[in-house]
């Protein structure tokens, strides 16, 4: 009896109609597409995107030249250039190079930074025409990269 019912269902294309019903229902539900340049997707604050260096209220860098970020970076893309100040016996930052070509956005540097100076910000539009633009120095890191925000 069950096999007869199965045969009837098969002849009446019940299994196929079931699928067709699902797709036609989906056709009238709103699309989930984000039309990228016009609509931008919501990025969570933890997103690890463009690297930036923080400055304090007077515009001085927060970096204390401790070199921890350079040590923890698995890809060795950070170079901290520093000099020991003979008076204070402390390191002073003379330059900072972030080679974003090799960065894999693991976030170890921002995690280890004691002053929350280096941060991976949620900015994700990082495409550039020239690969040299990915080697960022201190001014670029503080100012942010030259943005190309795509528009319609």
């Amino acid at each position: 009896m069950a096999s007869v019912a199965q045969l009837v269902r098969k002849i009446l294309f019940v299994d196929l109609l079931q699928g067709l019903a699902i797709t036609i229902r989906e056709m009238f539900t709103p699309a989930v597409t984000e039309q990228y340049p016009r609509q931008r997707s919501h990025v969570y604050e933890r997103f690890r995107g463009e690297p930036r260096m923080g400055v304090d209220a007077d515009g001085r860098t927060l970096c204390i030249a401790c070199n921890l970020c350079a040590q923890v970076c698995p890809e060795h893309c950070i170079t901290v250039q520093r000099e020991k100040n003979p008076e204070t016996k402390k390191f002073e930052l003379t330059g900072y190079v972030f080679d974003m070509r090799r960065c894999m956005f693991c976030g170890f540097c921002e995690e280890i930074c004691p002053t929350h100076c280096i941060q991976l910000t949620p900015d994700y539009e990082l495409a550039r025409y020239d690969v040299r633009e990915f080697v960022l120095e201190l001014p670029a890191l503080e100012r942010g990269m030259d943005k190309t925000h795509y528009r319609k």
Binding site: L16, G19, T23, E26, M27, T33, Q35
Partner: protein, 345 residues
Amino acid sequence: MLELFKPYTEELVKIVILLALVSLAIAYLTWLERKVIGHIQSRLGPMRVGWHGLLQPIADGIKFILKEDIIPAKADRFGFVLAPLLAFIPAFIVFALIPFDGPQAFTVGGQTYSGYVADVNIALLFVMAITSICVLGLIVGGWASNSKYPLLGALRSVAQLVSYEIPMALSVMGVVMMAGSLSLVQIVLAQERLGWWFFLPQLVGFVIYFICGVAETNRNPFDLPEAEAELVGGYHTEYSGFRFALFFLAEYANMITISAVAATLFLGGWLMPFPSLFAPYLSWVPGIVWFSLKVFALLFLYLWFRGTFPRYRFDQLMGIMWKILLPVAIANILVTAGVMLYLNR
């Protein structure tokens, strides 16, 4: 020389109009497909060129024409160039035979014109014949590409198309028997006389015809010749630019042909549905509108199928044809003949 063509002015004008309309219809069928499947898949489809991507087909056409014409170095040039034409031209010829509207469709300057280019007394046979030529384009294209995937695709498609022609031809025989004519115009008129469309008495034939039509046009779930998952692109893998566009257009033209023939044979062509109900209000609607609506509904089915079903395997496809469709089509003919004999006793 011009004098010779004078008696055919009406036909020539109609052919020109038809070519333009059909080309436009094909172009917008591609747009429709992308839109429908997009929405089925909870996407939007083309949105950028024009309002809701309405100019997308034109942009695509320009892109195809401007693309570099690539002929693979080891391809057979003669076949490679010829194949898209072999597929494309027959696909367009068929439209000359399809009655878009009745014998007295338009009145221009006091003279009535019919809604078709030619009423051939073997029109149905002719449609079958012309569509069977399209196969040549596929196999020559696949062979001439001199590449393995296109060849596999071409061999599949030929086996598929040649086989599915058989149940397809048989499935329309019931209609031919009921109408007593092979002329498409006469078949529609027979439906008018009968008062109901042939898809009711010939439901089995209609289903078989449509399944075969899906297979004939290489559409999902029978799109094996171009199964991109296995064969990358099928017989037109090596084609690009305008030659690819010709194959592409031929496929869509075939879809329209199959739907148009199905609408003519089974859905009453240009006739109005439920004339007793609608005739007082809707008699001003020209028959071509009804016809287009029917064709559109069938085309939508194609797109809907594509958005829903997986793909059969090649041997299963042939099994369906030989083990199910062919016997059922033959049984349909026998039953129709029996019933007709009984009724006409």
